[in-house]
């Protein structure tokens, strides 16, 4: 297992509803990532299809595994790279039950998927209208260590990153489609989640304009000490590469031992209080 490797943040814009065009772009950026010696390339939330899709989601969603995961597996295999991207998933058991899903693929094929747990359905968002929330956090064993996946609004809920970290993820990948008014929240929360969990956080956000919504980009890799290792431009396509070195966690954990000092008994109280909000 590699403990030190490069991560590429592929901050792309998408063609709404055009999977072929988006797959071409994913391939181009995967090739570029490999040229930069990256072992992992990360794309935004719903990067297979674009974010604002509304009723078209029913037509565009695919099973996992399915044709698009096969296409991404092919890219990963050919270029010997790990890829994280987002897509609308349709359940294997029903015909129109959808999930907003992050997929991780490696050189040996499909590794796993994470279904977004917190679906924003307020302000400009209408995710719960279309998607069913996931019920499991996502931590996956890879040649790059255990990698955790979360999606966008999940980062507002510290318990998701906490559980992901407690399940062994030292790198938490957050794929996102965040419109511009929320920039300051994400810039704070990416650092907070990294610091409070002493983990690496790789955040990759969408850019471009979809139905008047502008996505702000600002992708970043944050170290376990909260330092921004590398960051992308605002508002335009960008590509950045940063290094993850798990050894750094060993240096920061004794200084900020948040995991050692966890108080599990509080979680029960938290559950009770949340149920009675």
């Amino acid at each position: 297992m590699k403990t030190r490797f490069k991560v590429a943040l592929a901050q792309i814009s998408c063609q709404q509803g055009d999977k072929e065009a988006n797959l071409r772009k994913i391939k181009d950026y995967a090739v570029k990532a490999k040229q930069h010696n990256a072992d992992l390339v990360i794309f935004p939330e719903l990067s297979l299809t674009g974010y604002v899709l509304r009723d078209e989601l029913y037509k565009l969603a695919e099973k996992i595994p399915g044709p698009s995961t096969k296409a991404i597996e092919e890219i990963a295999r050919e270029h010997e790279i790990h890829i994280v991207y987002g897509m609308p998933e349709v359940s294997e058991k029903t015909q129109a039950t959808l999930y907003n899903t992050a997929v991780i693929v490696g050189p040996k094929g499909l590794i796993g998927k994470y279904r977004k747990m917190h679906l924003p359905t307020h302000s400009v968002f209408e995710e719960k209208r279309y998607f069913r929330p996931g019920y499991q956090t996502g931590v996956f064993e890879t040649n790059l260590g255990k990698i955790g996946l979360i999606i966008c609004y999940d980062i507002f809920f510290p318990e998701i990153c906490r559980l992901t970290r407690l399940n062994g993820a030292q790198l938490i990948v957050c794929i996102s489609a965040s419109p511009a008014v929320r920039k300051s929240f994400f810039e704070t929360l990416t650092i907070a989640r990294a610091m409070e969990n002493t983990a690496f956080v790789a955040y990759v956000n969408l850019v471009g304009v979809e139905d008047g919504l502008q996505f702000w980009g600002g992708s970043r890799l944050v170290g376990p000490n909260g330092k921004v290792i590398v960051s992308s431009k605002y508002d335009e396509e960008d590509f950045a590469v940063g290094e993850v070195d798990y050894a750094e966690i060993r240096y920061i954990e004794p200084l900020v031992p948040t995991l050692k000092d966890l108080r599990p008994e509080i979680f029960e109280k938290l559950k009770d209080a949340a149920e009675n909000l």
Binding site: Q16, G17, G50, V52, L53, R54, D55, E56, A180, G208, V209, E210, D211, G212, Q214, D235
Partner: protein, 278 residues
């Protein structure tokens, strides 16, 4: 939240870039050749025109100056041409008086004393001209409506509001003025009292009954779910004024929507036929 003029402050350079990016993206995705818009000489259309020029280049923006005899103002025509010249925008000037006269003559119930109906006819006639150019020359119609006027319904339904894009619709009037100054719209355009020019001597603030500086703060409070009492207290104004504005905002929703229908079938336009615009 404290309702004070500062809440309306934005990073104007960022707003400029955002609006320009939106316009450019829309024109590119539509595969259009450029933009056409009505140039009245007022701050809203001057700002929309300037931002269009910043976004795609003035040579791809056509400003239609569409005066008519009753409200003709050399100052307004001069201002329209001033902003066009400054931002390198092409213009075409067409006197719409003969068209208006013909329409008025052929409407059996036309009432020359009803200035509102007569005024709305002018705005809708301008819309016909603008859309002809759009249609003929493959141009996108850029509207100039701001957030203040859109919220209180201070516009002509299917008239001045008719457009393919409305890049200023999320900015209050006082914010449009600040953005206008930031991007270099001449002060004489920004600082004059706004008027829809539907009849002689009409000014927006007199008709609405409140200055934009105050209106925008009331609307900002309503936008942020503040209660009328809270807004009135903070702004030190009568609650009735806030209630009047709130009532106007809500009662004008019909002007901001497609025609309402009643649901009969599986998926219905305006209810649950929800498609992205691609």
């Amino acid at each position: 939240m404290k309702l004070a003029p500062e809440v309306l402050e934005l990073d104007w350079e960022e707003v400029k870039n955002k609006v320009a990016r939106f316009i450019r993206d829309y024109v590119e995705k539509a595969k259009a050749k450029g933009i056409v818009l009505g140039l009245s000489g007022g701050v809203d259309s001057s700002t929309a025109a300037a931002l269009s020029a910043i976004a795609i280049g003035g040579d791809k923006v056509l400003g239609l100056v569409l005066p008519e005899r009753e409200t003709y103002s050399p100052r307004e025509v001069k201002h329209a041409k001033l902003v066009a010249e400054k931002f390198g925008i092409k213009t075409e000037t067409i006197d719409i008086t003969p068209t208006l006269k013909t329409i008025q003559k052929t409407i059996p119930v036309f009432d020359p004393e009803d200035k509102l109906c007569k005024g709305n006819l002018k705005a809708r006639t301008r819309m016909l001209y603008i859309y002809y150019y759009a249609n003929k020359l493959n141009l996108i119609v850029c509207g100039s409506s701001d957030k203040s006027e859109t919220m209180i319904g201070y516009f002509t339904k299917w008239g001045d509001v008719a457009a393919d894009i409305a890049p200023l619709m999320d900015l209050y009037k006082t914010q449009v003025r600040k953005l206008a100054k930031h991007i270099g719209v001449p002060d004489e355009i920004v600082d004059k009292p706004p008027s829809p020019m539907l009849w002689p001597g009409q000014t927006a603030e007199e008709e609405i009954g409140v200055k934009y500086e105050l209106l925008d703060l009331i609307l900002y409070g309503l936008e942020h779910f503040m209660k009328t009492d809270e807004i009135a207290e903070q702004l030190n104004i009568e609650r009735e004024l806030v209630e009047r504005i709130e009532k106007r905002w809500k009662s004008m929703e019909h002007k901001r929507r497609l025609p309402q229908t009643t649901k009969i079938q599986y998926r219905t336009v305006g209810f649950d036929f929800r498609l992205p615009q691609t």
